[in-house]
Symmetry: C2
Subunit: 200 residues, 2 copies
């Protein structure tokens, strides 16, 4: 039994969010209760704003405030380099490194025949247009090293090939800080295949 129906309702809603269990949901609800009312309102507004005021960027397919996202709008970025990712979340992850200065292209999925997802379901039309514009020098495929990721990479390599644009994919191997002893076989095989010459 809950002492308040409002408390009960919010805990139920919070616990439906990903990664939030019942315990975290009640902790969050009690935190909301301890926050100033205007901050709670502002959090609620920020959620509705994100939902109502964002668009899919007509160039890269990422999340945008208007027709074109802030990254595609930025003249300081290298327009000859396109990093292809599975979804808009990956843009955030790569931007988080602060190292990449090129553009992005969000596929909004991966080719997966078992799930009925074919190339026609991905955001590929604009990618072909961008590669055909003559301004692009290299396309980096930053897809997960899964069966679907590999299949999509192969498909993209064939799709982009006619435009005379270099296609690369990010390195798969031992993550930084990992121990060879505890690495899985598939990762060790990938790291051997992708070995890099360091002298002569």
């Amino acid at each position: 039994m809950k002492s308040s129906s409002y408390l009960d309702a919010l805990i139920k809603k919070f616990s439906k969010l990903p990664g939030i269990g019942t315990k975290s949901a009640s902790r969050l609800a009690f935190h909301i209760l301890s926050m100033p009312t205007d901050e709670v309102e502002s959090l609620g507004r920020a959620m509705v704003d994100l939902k109502k005021n964002t668009f899919t960027c007509t160039i890269c397919g990422g999340i945008a405030d208007s027709e074109v996202c802030a990254i595609c709008h930025d003249d300081a970025r290298d327009r000859s380099l396109i990093c292809v990712v599975e979804d808009a979340k990956d843009v955030l992850t790569i931007e988080g490194t602060g190292e990449y200065r090129g553009m992005y292209h969000v596929l909004a999925g991966l080719i997966s025949p078992l799930d009925g997802v074919g190339p026609e379901n991905l955001n590929l039309r604009t990618l072909a247009q961008r590669c055909g514009s003559g301004a692009v020098r290299e396309v980096i495929l930053a897809l997960n090293p899964s069966i679907e990721g590999e299949a999509t990479s192969l498909y993209l390599a064939q799709l982009i090939n006619p435009f005379g644009v270099t296609v690369t994919r990010i390195a798969h191997g031992l993550p930084v800080g990992a121990d060879i002893e505890f690495a899985d076989n598939a990762t060790i095989i990938k790291s051997l295949e992708g070995r890099v010459k360091i002298s002569r």
Copy 2:
């Protein structure tokens, strides 16, 4: 760089919540983006509702929809038993077991001289009134086994004593499923002190 300022704003707000890091905050924001607009609005409303429409129960000090909370309102519960807890969150935890059928009393803190919290800062006036009403048979102290919890328990035992009400405290000992080998000294000492006779 974020592709959308709305996305950026919501991730920042989410990451201020307890137990939510930057990664979880972006995951939540992208989940919000994938939810139907009416569900997002309803989540926002539930947060503001909790903040605006709840009261402190005038009887137990818990979270209530009106002057008196649903638990204090429920005639099916045992009014002769009061479980004293530190905060309203603990009511939820104990109710979660589904075993306790008595009433509650929320102190909204623990006596802690170092933090400048004395008995006068706790919700004690109504507890004395409730104990003095003649309807209460037993008060169970369910406070954390910390220095503040012990000090508060001692103070409450003295406060309630004149009313001729039995005061008990929850058992402190080895948690269910734990291994004696890995238990800390304080827990083992508590479990020896609180030993229970099982035959003769």
